[in-house]
Assembly symmetry: D2
Homo-oligomer: 353 residues x 4
């Protein structure tokens, strides 16, 4: 039980995922933040950039120090793979929050993100969703932390896919707080444009689509090789900073559930409870969740139900996009990789109200 302190580096601490990693790791009992990098702010102290980190008084440096035990990267895609490749090759444990190590198929990556800088590393990486890949993550030295939307959608639909029940069109109508768009300045994150406003975006295709298809298809095909899986994914922007709610409308195979509406609801919840029995951060709820119930916490609340009018299944999930959907998911993987109990350093209780 005696845990030596792990020395962690955070690359590109100056965005929201980087700052959230700093918040979580600074309070993690088994971690010491050894260094933080961030090109544009080199020379400043971390609290000058992020005053809420006033008690984490580290200099922002250009390069990762010698002697760190693990690297967390919050670089954008492409830049991440390029910067991380040497560490991966040295065998350093690397946890990357970009898209570079999420997609196993190079062509799919290329279609959405352009050429991959280090395609040879794809085979070595694990999709960092512990609820699906706990063992592989535990064994891995390179983890690609899932996107925020895929985290919410996959956790909502995985138990159905694992039964081989998905068939036909699944609609994922997802709603995200604005921090998902990052700290870079753009008109669509400008306060006056977003405040008291609600809109859809990404209607010509969103980069998080292939992740959902990759993971759900893998589950589905393991169970039912012939099943078709179509995902219509429409993201929306909510006038709030944190949180994702995904409302998922799957089409289920005939006969997937039977009985009265009540019986089918109960069977559905039982399936979910059982599927997530060993997942400490997934809470299968009997009432519809709200995003703020997860604020600042690594929780995913999942609510599967049946529409009594149409008899169709609807599944809703809620997460904090910066925690379970990014930095918290990363820390959860880190715990597994380092033999630390999965829940250490992560809260299950949202800052509510």
């Amino acid at each position: 039980m005696e845990q030596r302190v792990v020395r962690a580096a955070i690359i590109n601490v100056t965005g929201y995922v980087g700052a959230e990693l700093a918040r979580l790791l600074a309070q993690h009992p088994a971690v010491e933040i050894a260094c933080v990098t961030g090109r544009s702010e080199v020379g400043k102290r971390l609290p000058e950039v992020f005053p809420h980190l006033w008690s984490v008084d580290l200099p922002i440096v250009a390069d990762v120090d010698q002697g760190v035990d693990v690297i967390f990267s919050a670089l954008p895609h492409a830049a991440a793979a390029e910067r991380l490749a040497p560490y991966v090759e040295q065998g350093m444990p690397v946890i990357d929050a970009s898209a570079d190590f999420r997609l196993y198929d190079e062509e799919t990556y290329e279609r959405w993100y352009g050429e991959h800088p280090t395609p040879e590393l794809l085979a070595a990486s694990v999709y960092g969703l512990p609820e699906l890949h706990r063992d592989a993550i535990t064994e891995s030295r390179l983890v690609g932390v899932p996107g925020c939307y895929p985290t919410s959608a996959i956790l909502a639909l995985a138990p159905l896919a694992a039964q081989g029940w998905l068939d036909g069109r699944t609609v994922v109508d997802a709603k995200s707080g604005v921090s998902g768009a990052g700290r870079a300045l753009k008109l669509t994150s400008h306060f006056s444009e977003v405040d008291s406003n609600f809109s859809a975006y990404g209607l010509s295709g969103h980069r998080h689509h292939p992740e959902m298809v990759q993971e759900l298809s893998a589950l589905q095909h393991a169970s039912d090789g012939d099943a078709q899986l179509g995902v219509t994914f429409v993201p929306h922007l909510v006038p709030m900073t944190r949180g994702i709610l995904a409302t998922c409308y799957p089409s289920l195979r005939d006969g997937a559930l039977s009985g009265s509406a009540e019986e089918r609801i109960e069977a559905l919840r039982e399936l979910y409870r059982s599927w997530y029995a060993d997942a400490p951060f997934v809470h299968v709820s009997d009432s519809p969740p709200s995003t703020k119930q997860t604020l600042g916490a690594n929780t995913c609340i999942v609510y599967p139900t049946v529409d009594p009018l149409s008899g169709e299944v609807t599944v809703i999930s809620a997460i904090d996009n910066l925690v379970k959907g990014a930095a918290g998911g990363a820390v959860q993987c880190f715990n597994l990789m380092f033999g630390i109990p999965e829940e250490v350093g992560l809260s299950k209780i949202g800052v509510y109200p």
Copy 2:
């Protein structure tokens, strides 16, 4: 062009729809607000209850004065029909914002709202959506103003239904500002519960469902008697005061649209533009709308598109729930009923940002 001033009464001015009627009618060049009623606040002046109406300094009274020319009611359902019946029987023009005169079928009403106080009046009422029933409203003396969600969903889907194209399950994933829940105090409208929070509700069925089915089925069946129409409607609560965005995922009949994705998008927009050519407040947009673009205005922005990945149609609509979705829709009907140009007293320009 000489328009005599119409003397209007507002019954139950003390809720948000009542207050919004007061805002609009006070600025309507052809209207004089003759009296406002509101049981709980009788004896006060209107600005004591609603300080933003400081320039509309009327007493709140218990009963409608003699000598009014039209009655706008913002009473809740059941109370509305009961209070309005005598006026309807006298032939007084009545515009009712409750659910009492929206559903033509008494049994459907009863299933969702309980016994109807005056079922004999249902046959005389018109569903107050001018874009579908302009002529009938013009001739009518009793109008049931549509619910806010149905306004957004029906305007998003009507052109498809009118083609007989809807087939199978249509998902209406709708998101509303909190004012849709009214001014009555409840935990789900309490600031600290709703702020920075997003959730779904009404998952066991919402009262606005039958309106959508009634109106879309009527359009659909006029074109295609055999078509099936299933609507899964899930409302959500957005941390903002006003606005509804409805993201609609219709299933279309095979062969409804053909050609490349671009051709199908263009055909779809052309269908919508043509269907709404005479609707002054419906704007068919080439880019996804946001709710704040309609704030305070009677506009409905509709955006039909095709998902390039799945080839499926998605239609998004945006309104201000208190204007086009309630008080503004009522004033639009009033204009038609009184031979006033449809656009008078209503803005098309949202208060943005």
Copy 3:
């Protein structure tokens, strides 16, 4: 009463003040928007930049057309004076929303804004606050529309200054919605930074300070040549888009008010009501105002009171910073300059809730 239509140009329509001018002028019964300019967006249609203006389908051009009757400018300071000088010299009526024609004293301007491009025009301009300078505005051809904060603070304190009652330090603790910072991208207007957050800024001095001092001193000195006037002005950023609330803590000359607290409150309100008797957009209220009561309207609500514990006077005022604090104030001046009744084209009723 027959009013010919005035052809108006809006220079730099692409910021929030420009867009708000477009909203107001498009609905002004005596105005036709003849042209709108905006360097960075030339060639686009106005609704491409501002979809809420979908019904104002004008091209954005580089230069003001021939044949306009009045120019509204929403350029930033310095750029405004430079661009407007030729029009002013031609005798064209010009209404400028920048700081260039607000300060009568060239040196004061220089201290806060740098060199003035056209100091020779300062003598010809009028400070565009009709409540203080109605006659001068009516006669003027060049109006400098007040800043948003000064509008709120001056209207809160003018009746006291006009009595010669201000003496010693007056604290103006003002709170503004984020739209006051404009449409330009900056971290301090980034949604995730501002949302659910509250902060002070400008603590080393804010450019709106000298306007307050100029106008209040002029009033004060007309009444009491010897009085001292010190203003501590601290602006704050509120997580909302529109609205300013100024809480003013004046120090009053000994003997300024006498009697019991109730008597002093009543005397104070009577003073304010009488001072603003002819101001159609200033409402002296008996209860503390809130900003949303003025949303989208040209109203200023003023609430003077006496703290029963300390006996000190506090005055609170509320406006919509983009309307009464910018574009609406500009239109009000325009009406006066063109002999149009002061209230035309402007609402007194906020879009509430």
Copy 4:
């Protein structure tokens, strides 16, 4: 270092302070929540009332169990004293978040809150602000946790008062998130009324005024027996859930600070840094704080400065009203009372953005 687990009871867990105590204590390494009470919800599980506490699955009971080591009370005033008196008399450590044990003077209490149920206990209580009363709290068995506004104002002004520098009128212009008004339903906490809105309230006197005067006077008089202290306190409601920012405008005794503006700023900050050198949760900042920097954390950020125009001192402080201003302050006192290091179980890092 071996710490036995302290068994804590939370009385009236069903309000926001109670829920926040549950959040903090559930994650406190030295505490076990032994029981939670809440009259109106007896029989439910805690997560049924507060779904964010899904991992704290306790029954809500009517009465405190035997065998608890400490009582935290989140009852309202009067009810608190009545319910807590027997425990106090038994010598049980009690930490009360109501106003009942904050004011040492019975008459002052009576003027603001009505008759005190147990005036005999006032002498035994300590004002629970560790930054002022660390030793007394450590020795105490009855602590009255300060109000949220007083926490922010006193921490902003204490170093000045302790120098005997306050003289004349001090303005405390404070702005609070809506959660400060609690979970009880009222129109002034109704989402649509508060959202995108800003207002002042409590202009006829606010109950938190006497606390500020009590504590600042005590500091001031210890240093300068003759000094006058007048506080004008105006609270405001910010459209956000958590956070207080207090902007304080003290009048300082002549000669309190000297030198250039820069020198005076530096002297001021040095005074503050030195005064708070041993306070782990008070951060004296060189830049103006914002409330969200403290979200969910027990931090108070204090920013003292000098207005370069007027030469006057302004001090700004920021806290999370539910943490440092209520439940976190309570836990900090608890740590002191039980010999636990002051920082245990409390975060210094806000959940930002």
